[in-house]
Point group: C5
Chain length 99, copies 5
């Protein structure tokens, strides 16, 4: 899994019927030290994440292992909203500080 920040959304009406009802978020991968990647990806949301939140996403077939995404063409899913990140013994992120 990877850490990421939710930075946007994508809307599509013409799509595979199997993705109806799923929200698509734009993620920017993030290191545990808070450094943001220059790349982006689109992920389905299985936990009610909002823009600006730090999340964990899973990719590949594992992205279909949530109630929301099974049997869907989902190769990336947000499966947790991060409370705290601890790196090398120091707290590098705490949700209350940012949200």
């Amino acid at each position: 899994m990877q850490l990421a920040k939710v930075v946007g959304t994508v809307v599509a009406t013409q799509k595979s019927e199997r993705v109806d009802g799923l929200k698509m978020m734009i993620l920017r991968p993030m290191g545990p030290d808070g450094a943001l990647s220059s790349s982006y990806l689109v992920a389905f949301d299985a936990v009610g994440a909002g823009e600006g939140e730090v999340v964990i996403y899973a990719t590949g077939s594992s992205a279909r292992q949530t109630e929301a995404t099974q049997n869907r063409p989902a190769d990336a899913v947000i499966m947790a909203i991060v409370d705290t990140i601890e790196l090398d013994g120091a707290l590098t992120y705490q949700k209350a500080d940012d949200a």
Copy 2:
């Protein structure tokens, strides 16, 4: 999933019988800010996408999770045509402007 622009097509008559009837499109991955990648991939089309359109594609085993692609050697599928992209609170793409 990733955003991409449809930039071409590939035609093949000598192929695995399991891909008969599927259209193969050339995609160029795109960032949510509209920046096009220098790489390309080939994807099956599950939604009737046309050249020049901005789409979302899924890869890996998830690419077989549409009606069109199940049980086929498909590792990439177009599963949605994008209407709007919103990044960092700003609208960065709207289909009507481009199509």
Copy 3:
């Protein structure tokens, strides 16, 4: 999927019994504009491709979705021989020109 040129072969007699009878080809990934990658991969052949031909290959679990490769440790398979490539409205490859 990706485009590639068949540039060689690998022979192995000491191998998993599950790959008996499959031909292993060396592929060099290729862009739709004909640019060859500096990397290589080994793929099983499901369509009778020959050296010098331009093909399409699939990777991951999807590489096991041909008659030739099911239930085999195949993470890459040639599943089509390319006739034509059209990019940005121009024909960039035609089989008869090269074969």
Copy 4:
């Protein structure tokens, strides 16, 4: 699989119900010569690994092939704690020296 050093933890209370009870560790991939990568990933722990330990992790669908992770949205799992690494005939890592 890849070698990695356990360098931190992530805590999340709002998450897919399928990951309840699993500990999420931050890994930094490592070469067999001890060189640490500049990238990080988040993995579930199937073997009771602690911070500072050198481990082996598996990714993709294979990450769901432990008792702890089956049917969960796990795309990376720690599946072994390394005792020794031998590279080009020389011992490059021994657990007792570090733990």
Copy 5:
């Protein structure tokens, strides 16, 4: 699949019970021209490969498609020992020359 040279081994006693009895080898990916990659990976051995040998490995779920690795958290497996490599019409590797 990819070509690689076997360059080392990893030993672990504390591990998922599902990998008991499998040997873990360190591989260095190799081009068909003999050029060695600067990266490494850990793979299970399904064919009795030894250090210094040139092998072919498969990754992802396909790595579980050998008798030795099914239902195990294996994302990379050595599935063949290379006899010969032919690239662009020239023999670039022959086992007898090296072993």
